[in-house]
Subunit: 328 residues, 2 copies
């Protein structure tokens, strides 16, 4: 074991707090039950993004409410008292499901995906929502809607959620009446409307992967343009800041659950803009915690303001690298 590895292990269960006392929450992105031990081991404080596509990828047809409930319940119970944010079905696009009627699309990333598909198939959606709600009787659960582009989708999704609640009440199934509802910020229009959307939900979770992809009109899995995918594009920094500022102005918290949150070099950037929660693959939690504990937020704020003055990603990257070599 190197000294670095030991350090990492020793830090992993300490709070994710900067030198000047800014406390952030570190959570894990997971998909399967067998990832739960790693969430605890690596020191995450719950699950910030539970991907739920897996149970829909079976060829045996759509999962039943009971099947979903038993999996969600087990996860919630095993993670209790830590909270679990369950993202509703995010299929379509690059993820294909045999049971859900998806035909071929020319640009699947711009197609019938995620919340759009769920609003089009309300019974499919409501089945999942009932299962999530029932799991909320066994620990802290939050609901996260993906690919929201504006206020109407939130209203429609909340209506279906309300129906699901009423159905459960009629059957005397317990659930958390005050379950928190958040949205992914990953469509450019959601950033533009962040001030309006912040009034409609309990939290934001920024999906940097899709947000960067749509904002730059770049498919990052396309190797011919992947080099143009750029988290440090000045427009992306402005969009992230706009989102965080709008959330805070309305008293709600912002998580980042895209890959940016799990990449050590971006830690000072996200701290500088005031992100409240980082959610990432469990295995990188210790490294990110160590990064956070090694710096003051004040310094990161100064850095972030400097980065916002730059007009190209190249210049931003140069400044950030200088900062990293100065302080780490």
């Amino acid at each position: 074991f190197s000294k670095y590895s030991l350090d990492i292990i020793n830090t992993s269960h300490l709070p994710a707090e900067t030198k000047d006392g800014f406390r952030v929450t570190i959570k894990a992105n997971i998909e399967m039950i067998d990832e739960i031990p790693s969430v605890i081991t690596y020191g995450a404080e719950g699950v910030g993004l539970l991907r739920t596509e897996f149970l829909y990828l079976s060829k045996k047809g759509l999962p039943k409410e009971e099947d979903l409930y038993s999996v969600y319940r087990e996860m919630v119970e095993r993670l209790n008292p830590y909270p679990v944010t369950i993202r509703t079905l995010d299929i379509g696009g690059d993820k294909f499901v045999s049971s859900v009627p998806l035909c071929e699309e020319m640009n699947p990333a711009l197609g019938l995906r995620a919340i759009r598909l769920c609003l089009r198939e309300p019974e499919l959606f409501k089945t999942q929502l009932r299962a999530i709600l029932r799991a909320s009787a066994h620990g802290e659960v939050k609901i996260l809607f993906p690919l929201i582009s504006g206020k109407m989708e939130i209203i429609e999704a909340r209506e279906i959620l309300e129906e699901a609640k009423q159905e459960l009440k009629q059957k005397n199934h317990p659930f958390d009446e005050n379950i928190q509802v958040g949205i992914m910020i990953e469509v450019p229009t959601a950033v533009m409307m962040a001030d309006v959307l912040a009034k409609e939900v309990d939290f934001f979770s920024i999906g940097t992967n899709d947000l960067i992809q749509y904002s730059l009109a770049i498919d990052r899995v396309n190797e011919r343009v992947a080099h143009l995918y750029e988290p440090l594009h000045p427009a992306i920094l402005r969009m992230l800041q706009k989102t965080v500022d709008a959330a805070h102005a309305h008293g709600i918290e912002v998580a980042v659950c895209g890959e940016m949150a799990g990449e050590p070099m971006y830690v000072p950037v996200l701290l500088g803009m005031g992100v409240d929660e980082f959610s990432m693959n469990a295995i990188v939690v210790p490294r990110i915690k160590k990064m956070i504990r090694g710096i003051s937020q004040e310094k990161c704020k100064e850095l972030f303001n400097e980065l916002l003055e730059e007009s190209t990603a190249i210049a931003i990257r140069r400044r950030l690298l200088k900062f990293l070599s100065d302080y780490y």
Copy 2:
């Protein structure tokens, strides 16, 4: 001939000026030489968007500089003294070319397209730029770069343009040394950086089709989501306004060359935000001129400010329809 048709014909050669004297420029979007008579007939004041993909779609290989030059020259001469804005090659995505090496992409709209392709193939790009420059010796020509996402692409494209100019000088080919250079605003990051980009170019041309598509993450040719494509989404109005305001703050003009510019119902919206130029299919020029001449810009500004207060496309559409029925 109905009275309406006669009215249209009578208005088509009058200036596109609102009742309170706000003068906008109306131009045509064209692709082929045989469309030139219609530009004049319908009363357009030049070409705001000359699509140049056509000559690259031949199976006989890439067009030569002389081939391009002779077509551009004929167009420019026949439209003289009206200006012609020539958009550089915008292929890739949904447009396929046999001569240019394009492989299959999963999401072509987010792939190697337009300026990205041209910056990757500088000789292909420079050949077209030399032909455009040479045409500028025969009338007023402006260059328009598509799919710009940030400042670096403008710098790179301008470098190649500079090389093209030097090469023409060495061969003693005349061209307009002060040729204007503009960019399409159609990628969300370009909107976010509009204040920075406005310092780098002579004009903006908003491509509403792609801008709306990327901003909402909607492929509008995909019939499964086409209903979600929404020019009146509040985020889109904010983005258009942000672009116009940034341009005007830096003393440059803004054209709209997407389909929004040729749709009568959006005329008051675009007038209200202060768009300087509308470019559209020639055939709709008379109708749009009649719409413009029938209203005062002051009223449109009031309308636009009211629309910005709304938080959903439905409410915006309702207000706009009320306005249209009140004033037309």
